[in-house]
Structure formats: C-alpha cells, structure tokens
C-alpha cells in the first residue's frame, strides 16, 4: 500500500463467465464517475470495458468458463486507465477487422462491432503480451468538463 497515490485503484478478478459482465460494467461506471467523468461518459467507458471483457471470454478463452480475467483500474494524473489481463489465446491483429457499416447488411456480418466501439470510445486501445499474459489496455484522457469533444 504505497502512500500518497491520492486516487482510488481497483483490481477485480473474475471467473471467465459472461454472468459477471454486468458487474464489470457497473464497477467500471463507478470508477469512471469517481475519476471525474460525467455520467454519460462513464456509461460509454463502461461499454468499452464490457466489450473488451466480452472479447477476452469469447476469443482469448473461447468460451471456457473455468479461467480467470483480471481487471485493473488506475486513475493517475490526466488518464483513466483500465487493463484487462488474461492467460488465454493471443489477439491476432490480422483477425481484427476494419468495420465497414455498409457491408454489415449486405454481407451479413455481425462481428467487428466490439473493437470498433472500443476504439471510438477510448483514446487508445492497445494489446501486449508479457509473461504469458495478454494485457489489453484502455486509456481515456480526462478533458475538463465542457471541453468533451462531440461524439466521444
């Protein structure tokens, strides 16, 4: 417990079950609100983290429910940062599609929306692998109230 950090941090460890996605969303929203984001922004941040956690369950763990996901919330200086850690399959960057909304209807595509949402909502979404863990890092800069760019 280092002193003087002056902002809350939170670590949530979850079994890899979709039943806990509701908790992920609610905890994210609270942490974002405590971090100073207005309610509608906190709501969007919770959507991005929900999507990232859903992807871990579906893609990294391929639906296996006996694994674990760890979410780390850090609120330091100008950034709100959430990291999702799993021990499943790596993200293959080539598998990550570019979303073309028109193609969705004509080609019956249903995937790719989650990543698209995450990138629209966050300022940065990065994946790294270290010590046999996958870490998905989501970062949102804090903007002073009233200077929130539109559509964010």
């Amino acid at each position: 417990m280092p002193r003087g950090r002056n902002k809350p941090s939170l670590i949530l460890s979850l079994p890899s079950e979709t039943a806990y996605l509701g908790l992920v969303r609610e905890v994210t929203k609270k942490m974002a609100e405590v971090g100073g984001f207005a309610e509608p922004v906190a709501e969007r941040l919770s959507l991005a983290v929900d999507e990232a956690a859903t992807n871990v369950l579906e893609h990294a763990y391929k639906g296996a429910t006996d694994r674990e996901v760890e979410l780390r919330f850090e609120d330091r200086g100008p950034d709100f940062r959430v990291e999702l850690v799993d021990t499943g399959q790596m993200v293959d960057p080539r598998a990550v599609p570019q979303v073309d909304l028109d193609k969705f209807v004509t080609e019956r595509r249903t995937g790719g929306l989650g990543m698209h949402l995450m990138e629209k909502i966050m300022d940065s979404v990065t994946f790294r692998r270290s010590a046999r863990r996958n870490v998905c890092a989501l970062v949102k800069h804090k903007t002073p109230v009233g200077e929130e760019p539109p559509g964010r």
């Binding site: 509701g22 969007r44 929900d50 909502i121 559509g151």
Partner: protein
C-alpha cells in the same frame, strides 16, 4: 436479478418486442430468440420498443445485424422506438442511425409501417 426479459405483442401485422433490462453478451440469447421467433412466424414487421432497455452492448447490435437481412428480404423491417439517452448514444457512436430507423414513440414506429396498424392494443 432479472437482467433481461423480452415480452412481445401484436398490433395488426406488426410485432412489438419489449426488452426490459440490459442486453450484453450474457443476456443476448434471449433477445436473439425473440427476433428469431418473430422471423419463424413470418412476422417481418418488427418494432423493438426500447423504453425498458437500459443498455445494449455490441452483442445486441450483432443480434439485430444477424436478423436484418432476412427481415428486409421478406419485405419487412426492424425499427426502434423510445431509445433512452444511453442506448441512443451507443447507436450514434456506431452510426447505426444510418442502418435502422428510430422513432420517438411506439405509435410512430407502428404507423411508419403504413396505415391500418394504429388500432390494436
């Protein structure tokens, strides 16, 4: 915790779906089931009344995407009514407003399918 329920109701040849709660990857099967049921009953004029919907993740949007082509090919459509701010916002982020028609009220969404649907209830 009842996280999602989806009731349905017919008004003329329009079927109304009432998702209540939130749609994420955990609850989406139920919503998908309601859409598929309408399709299997050949009810292709679908209004999703979102008044009771507090939140929708991409899984729910994917469920609509997965159904829309068949619905439209059969001369129907999937239209949305009474989105709250959060849900409207998610739609806007994705540009879904270009893909789906949304209405402020259920009555307007029903009426959009043409005359003679206003009665019922």
């Amino acid at each position: 915790m009842s996280e999602l329920t989806v009731e349905s109701r017919d008004v003329g040849d329009v079927v109304l779906l009432y998702p209540k709660g939130f749609i994420n990857a955990h609850t989406v099967r139920l919503f998908e089931g309601a859409l598929q049921k309408a399709i299997s009953l050949k009810q292709f004029k679908i209004v999703v009344n979102c008044a009771g919907l507090s939140y929708i993740a991409s899984a729910g949007l994917g469920a609509m995407m997965g159904a829309i082509e068949e619905i439209r090919r059969n001369g129907g459509d999937l239209r949305l009514a009474s989105l709250n701010e959060t849900v409207q916002n998610i739609f806007d982020i994705l540009g879904f407003n270009h893909l789906y028609r949304t209405y402020a009220s259920e009555a307007e969404a029903i009426a959009s399918f043409g005359p003679a649907h206003g009665a019922g209830a």
